[in-house]
């Protein structure tokens, strides 16, 4: 695990110098939220719609930023270097930590901007929303990392990421939208247990499948 942490540290320091993903993410978030604000204008929108829009923005932001984990290594030609210094499990864990940090920062920024800019975005049960936020972010980070590894070697990376991520992330986004709606209604955590359990199951299944698959993806 310590090796994976150092791989993450290398990526983080590299990101701070190159701003490969952070700038792209920040610009995407600003543009997406601005477009929504302009398109709404003076219209009154329902609180459920703002909850849905939140996860739509998060879904597309994940596409623009999180795919960089392996794509940036492939584009710079450093994939072979990684092969020569770390075991596949270390590489995947290091990239996953990097995407986890990025997705938590990104989604926290989007959520704060939503609560500041949309009057209708009111969460009545904050604890339920935080639970959905935490497990949802873990799921998005795991899925984005393995999809990034798959598309890194393809010629059409830009188009392949949305195509692959749509069926993989759709069940997660649907559960998250549902949980956000319940949090807006002020439902208790115990009454939303089924959705939270489904979220945790998604994370566990995606995490296990990704670790098992990564060896094969990484070698060829």
């Amino acid at each position: 695990m310590i090796k994976a942490f150092y791989l993450f540290k290398k990526d983080w320091e590299s990101e701070l110098r190159t701003r490969y993903a952070i700038n792209a993410l920040a610009m995407f978030i600003l543009v997406a939220i601005s477009v929504i604000l302009f398109s709404i204008g003076q219209e009154k929108i329902s609180e459920y719609l703002t909850g849905g829009l939140l996860w739509v923005v998060i879904f597309f932001s994940a596409m623009s930023g999180l795919a960089r984990a392996f794509v940036s290594e492939e584009e710079r030609g450093t994939t072979i270097t990684l092969h020569l210094i770390a075991a596949p499990s270390t590489v995947f864990s290091g990239k996953l930590i990097f995407n986890l940090i990025l997705v938590f920062m990104m989604n926290a920024a989007i959520s704060i901007l939503f609560s500041l800019l949309f009057d209708a975005f009111v969460i009545k049960n904050l604890m339920l929303f935080i639970l959905a936020f935490i497990f949802g972010n873990i799921g998005i980070a795991i899925s984005s990392t393995i999809i990034s590894a798959i598309i890194a070697k393809a010629n059409t990376k830009g188009t392949l990421y949305p195509v692959l991520s749509f069926p993989i992330l759709l069940p997660l986004i649907l559960i998250l939208m549902d949980l956000t709606k319940l949090a807006m209604d002020g439902e208790s955590v115990s009454s939303s247990f089924t959705n939270i359990a489904a979220l945790v199951c998604y994370d566990v299944i995606m995490g296990t499948a990704s670790y098992l698959l990564f060896d094969f993806i990484w070698k060829e």
């Binding site: 310590i2 030609g77 092969h83 770390a86 070698k219």
Partner: protein, 214 residues
Amino acid sequence: MTDYSLHLESLTKIFGRRLVFDKLTYNFLPGKVYGISGPNGSGKSTLSKIIAGIITPTTGKVLHKSNAKIVKPEELHNLIGFVSPYLVLYDEFTAHENLLHFARIRGVKLDSGREDDLLNKMGIYNRRNDLVKAYSSGMKQRLKFVFALLHNPKLLILDEPTSNLDNSGKDAVYELLKSELHDNVIIIASNEDGDLAKCNEVIYLENYKIKNGQ
């Protein structure tokens, strides 16, 4: 004598529908420098990458043995040093930062004495704190040797090791080969006469097979 040896067992590699080589079998013994030669497209680089565990063969096996035990694939990276023109280090870091990150990710402490010694031998010690993006292609190639040797690998794979190097760089590489051979295995994939002259045995790849061992 070292406890490391390398065995290729009936290796075949096919890219799409193109056969690169077919059923290669060879044993590499410790304390020797091996050359891999052959015309362009004969599979020298592909064979180097397969031996290093970067890509997998279509069929056949590469067995790395240490202490008479087969090395597990997940432990292979600490046993191998690799240099090639297509190996790229991180441009946004200095040479020292690159080496520090690599040592930490490998899970070993950076040996500063060895780092300085290798940087000195390769003639880039004074530029160790410059960003790699400011290096010339020859200096980058010299740094790759430090990267490949810093963790004292048992197997050193050099794919076109003297490309981009001037005469002093080539001399530095040949001196390094002498001092680092010990009981290790060194494999040089090249068509350069100067490189192959340093080898104890040369494998010639042609028409998908090992043509001869010299």
